[in-house]
Structure formats: C-alpha cells, structure tokens
Symmetry: C2
Subunit: 362 residues, 2 copies
C-alpha cells in the first residue's frame, strides 16, 4: 500500500497556497477559483442528481472527499453543493437520511489550522482533514462515496527532471513553463501529467465504493493549441520574465532560474478523455469543456486584485525554490511590471478552457 504521508521522502516539497487569513492569504485571494465553483454549480448538482444511484450506495454514512482542498472557503461551497445534490437525490426518503462525513485533503504543508478555524459555524456535518498527496492512497478501500477535485489536478507531483536538465534534449531553455506541444519539453510535461493522472485515478478507484462518483473540475487548453498561446501561458510568460529580469539585476542567481519550472500542466479535453478511457476503472458519466464561462470567471475587477491572487497562489512555490529573502522584492517587481506593461489577463490570447467531468467507479 502506498500511503500519501510518505510524500516528504519520495517527492520534492509540495506546494500549497499561502496560509492564514491575512490580506495576502489564499483565503482572501481565491475569488477567481470561487468563480469556477459558481460556474459549475448548476452542472454539478444536475449531474450528481442524475448519476448517483442512492439505492445502490445506501449507507448510514455518506463520505465525501475534496482532493486538493487548500484552505477554504471554496472547498466549503463545493462540498455544500454536492451535499445539496445528494439530498435532492435522496428526497422523500428522509427516514434513511445519511450522516455526512466530509474529508478535506491537501499536502501536509497546507494550512489546516486556518481551514479548521474557518469551517462554517453550525455546519451539521462531521469533518476531518487528511494530509498527503492525492497521487497516492489517502483512504481505506471502498470508503468514499463522492470524490471532488477542483483547480488542483493541473499541479503535477513534480517538475519533469529533463526540462530543468541543461544536458537533456528536453531542457526548457529560457522558460519556466510548458511551452509547445509536440516539442521535447511539451512531451516531457505531458508524460508527467499522464503518469500523475494515472496514479490519481488508480488511488481513487481503490478508495471509491462501487458506483461512487468523482467530480473533476480542471483547467485545460483547446486541442492543438500551445499553453503559450493562451491567457494562462501569457501570464506565465510575464511571471517568468520577472525572474529573468531580477537575474540580470543580480537579485537571483542564474542557476536558480535555470533549475526552476512551474509544475503545472493543462491538458486538452481530448487528451484527458483518452487517459481516463485507457485507465478503464471509471465510466465517463459527463464530460464538458467550457469556454465562454471561463472568460466571465476570469474577468477580475482590478490589476491589484489579480496581483494579490498571483502571490497567494505562487508564493509557496517561489519561496521553496529561491528562498525566503527575495520573495517580497520579487512580488513587488512583478506587481510593478504587471501594471507598467498594462498586462490584461486574456488579452490577445487563445481562451483557456475549463474541463468538467463526472466519473463513476465501475
């Protein structure tokens, strides 16, 4: 049995969102992700209500797990939506209304203290936090009825070694993210994503009860488009250029930038579907690629707000690789360049997509 609390031995330090509830925290800077929750709420409730076979799953306890929960409040909204859907499905059957037990999973470096303190008051559910990587096993066999993962599976378990190895043909020279599709770099990232996704699906297949559902919401890119052509890619380009600028200014060592890449991958819907089918342990009950909504979701009120989101999401990653000392100066420089270059997310870029999937354990 591979258990996820071994992560510290076998994996590089995992990245989690900025903790606490201060002005720079993820808790205060996750409205973009909240948009995703809202955009998919109706779809999710409808799909669960249609696909969940409550008679088959009948159980005194109904267990729901959020994989990659971060520190709230979005995880609370998502799980509440799922519970509504389950209760609707179970409507008229109040004699057998189950007790809900909710599991919040993220890396052990996640700020669970803040998560627990911000639980909705008087929530009538049993809750638990589960530390560990969702690329390994986290729960006993056949113990989860619905799994959920939103905005999390784009985070790879690690950066593929080749892309930061100067001697490799897949060395990602001068860039910090997955550029290209059929390039060596693109293939290295894709291969890492495929391995990780396979691990995720295999672990969940063990943990879900037969007939249990898993809801996946994750960012994607249109088929045949490179990440660098998309809104997200253009942001990564700006972000990476700040690291290069500060190398020129002597704040960061060149080797450190050369060995840095973002452990992120956005698949095409086609690629993701093929992966799930090849894995074969789940039936695809619902598969949607959303573009229009993403545009609305991504329309942030101000550059300053966007900048705060960026820091909440990436500070841990930057600190882990470059050390504590340069963090404030780096994000100050990034904010300045963001504003001075008039960066607008999504401008002159191909749209990113949002992939919404419901799988059933077969």
């Amino acid at each position: 049995m591979e258990v996820a609390n071994e992560e510290t031995k076998t994996m590089p330090q995992p990245i989690t969102m900025r903790g606490g509830d201060g002005p720079l925290s993820y808790a205060q800077n996750s409205s973009l992700q909240k948009g995703v929750v809202d955009a998919t709420k109706g779809m999710m409730i409808h799909a669960i209500a249609n696909k969940l076979d409550m008679e088959k799953l009948c159980s005194e306890t109904f267990r729901i797990a959020d994989f990659g929960c971060s520190i709230g409040p979005n995880t609370f909204f998502s799980l509440q939506n799922i519970i509504h859907a389950v209760e609707q499905t179970n409507h008229g059957n109040s004699a057998t209304s189950p007790e809900f037990q909710l599991f919040f999973n993220d890396h052990s470096s996640n700020d669970f203290n803040t998560l627990f303190k911000s639980l909705p008051p008087s929530w009538p559910y049993f809750v638990a936090g589960v530390p560990g990587s969702f690329y390994g096993r986290l729960f006993p066999k056949s113990s989860i009825h619905i799994g959920h993962s939103s905005n999390a599976l784009q985070w790879l378990s690690k950066v593929p070694e080749q892309v930061v190895d100067c001697n490799s043909s897949a060395y990602n020279s001068g860039s910090i993210y997955c550029t290209g599709i059929e390039t060596e770099v693109g293939k290295a990232f894709a291969s890492q994503f495929e391995n990780d996704m396979e691990s995720f699906l295999n672990a969940r297949a063990e943990e879900l009860v037969n007939g249990g559902l898993i809801v996946i919401v994750m960012g994607g890119i249109p088929d045949g488009i490179s990440l660098s052509q998309t809104a997200i890619g253009k942001f990564y380009h700006l972000f990476g250029s700040c690291l290069l600028d500060l190398t020129d200014k002597g704040l960061i060592k060149e080797e450190k930038v050369k060995s840095f890449n973002l452990p992120l991958y956005f698949p095409s819907a086609k690629q993701l579907k093929a992966l799930i089918e090849r894995n074969g342990r789940f039936s695809i009950e619902s598969f949607d690629e959303i573009t229009e909504q993403v545009k609305g979701v991504a329309a942030l009120p101000s550059a300053q707000n966007y900048i705060s989101h960026v820091r909440a999401g990436f500070e841990g990653l930057i600190k882990e690789h470059f050390g504590n000392e340069m963090v404030d100066e780096f994000f100050a420089y990034y904010a300045k360049k963001h504003i001075e270059t008039g960066f607008v997310f999504g401008e002159n870029a191909a749209e990113n997509t949002l992939i919404f999937i419901i799988l059933k354990r077969i």
Copy 2:
C-alpha cells in the same frame, strides 16, 4: 445531532497545548505524558488483546480515534501500541488483515499543522485530523472500532460559573483550582465533571461499533482526599500564588484573577466507576488505579524541565484569560518562584493516581 464544530458558539475558547516544535512547545515538553504512555503500554496491549472480539468486529477497515490528541508525539506512540495489540489479536489471520484509519481529535485551535508535519515517516496507516470538542459528536454512527483518550478528560468543557461568581455560595475565593471535596466549590467542579463525562460517554456510545472498545487513561485522586492535598494540587497552589503575587505588584488586575479558575478536575476511581455504571452504555472490561508508577513517571530530571512542561501546558489558558502582554513576565516569575521556594513535585503530598479503564460498547 450535536456536532462538535459548533464549539466556538456554545463554549468558552477551548484550551490547547502550545503549538509548533520550538523549545517552549508541547511537542518538546511532553515527556511527563510520555511516561504515562509507557507506564500503561503493557496493560493496554494485554487488555485489548484479551477484550477485543475481532471476529465480531470483522471489517476491511479498522478505525481508531484518539480523543484529545494534542500535537504529538505521544498520540503516535499510543495509537501504534493499540495497532500492535489489534494485530496480535488478529495474528494468523493475515489474509483478512484490515487497513487502519487513524483519527486525531482535538479542539480546532489545536496545532494540527505541526501534528501533520510530525507524523512518523512511512507510517503505513491512513490518517485524518478531526477538529472539535470531544464532549460533542465527532464521528458518524457506529464508525469507530477503538477510541482512546489519555491525559485529556481531566480538562472540563468549562469552568463551572458559580466558582468564579463572587455572589455564589460556591465562589472559590482566593484559589484557582478545585479545592475541597464536600465543599460547595468541590461539588460545583464535581457536577461539571459528571455532566462532561456523561456527554463524552453518550457521544462515544453513538460513534463506537457494537463491541468496540474505548481506552481511557486519566489522572485521579485517592478516595476521600482533596486535590489540594496531592502533588498536583500543591503545584496548582504554587501556580495560583504567582497570579496573586503579580496582582499585588500591579501586573495583573485583581478582577481578572478573581474570575480565573483552572477548568480541571481529577475524580476518584470510585466516583468515575459510578459515573460509567450510571451511564450504562458500556461494560467495564478493565478498571485499574495505579499509584506507584505515577511516582516514577512524575520524577522529572530537573526543575527547569518541569517549568518548561508547565508553560507548554498552561500558556494557552493564561493567554486566553489574561491576554498576551503578561505571559512572558508571568512565566518568568513562576519559574523564579518555583526555583526559589525549592518546589519539588510530589514532596509532602498525597500521591495522585492514574486511572486506566477499558470499556466495551454494549
């Protein structure tokens, strides 16, 4: 259903041990409690092996919960001991070896981040943290096979109102802890303990599977002896005298000391047994009162070490009531007085006892 994450609404701010893993933390200052784990290890393994009916409990997943786990490492030792006992009982039946899922419970103000980061590496068990008061429900019905609580049930859910009410006949004038037995103060503390223990037993009765066990280890006092005559009472007296001294010196307001009492109660074995029998939802499988071992356990190597333990255990309580500002000065004063008065734990005092109980859900 009363769920424990409502605690912030219905209870005073709960007290938890000092977090982190620095020199003043509970993690670094819990060797006294580790002594209790060691002293009861053999008894626990023997009793579980004798009392656990594995055939009746047969399950793919074996769930164990520690109630009042604090931040480690003692909780890891205790649960590991329980797992050894279960595995011994199940010996020769490796085909049906269960998967273990361990739940660590404490108040939501507990430092779960430190707990999760200090999990033993490569532990082959599934783990989860469960925030909330163990005087309310924390788990779904019939979902736990063995519950455990060590050095936790002496913490009351709150200080009885009367003992800090100047107008009450049970006002605990000039003292910060439960003095006396048949006094009004003693009765008020005893009544609070009885209510809390009843809540604990009722909640666990719902959560444990039929035939499931609960292991309770807690401090007690010999029948007919007042806490003030015991080693622990004499320490509380010293501790409280420091608050009074600092009131005289003007560092603390008199009203603040008058409204402060330790939410702690140590029952006699007789009283605790009667409570469990009156509750009636568990059979008493094992009930021991240990005195000699406690003496050994309490033999701390140095006054300085003892002082560190005191701060790790009581800093949260003092901070919550008196505010942040006086904490360092208070503990410095306490350390000075401890050393100057030549305080030795257990000297000229009646022995405290350790009560070790195994209950079975009937």
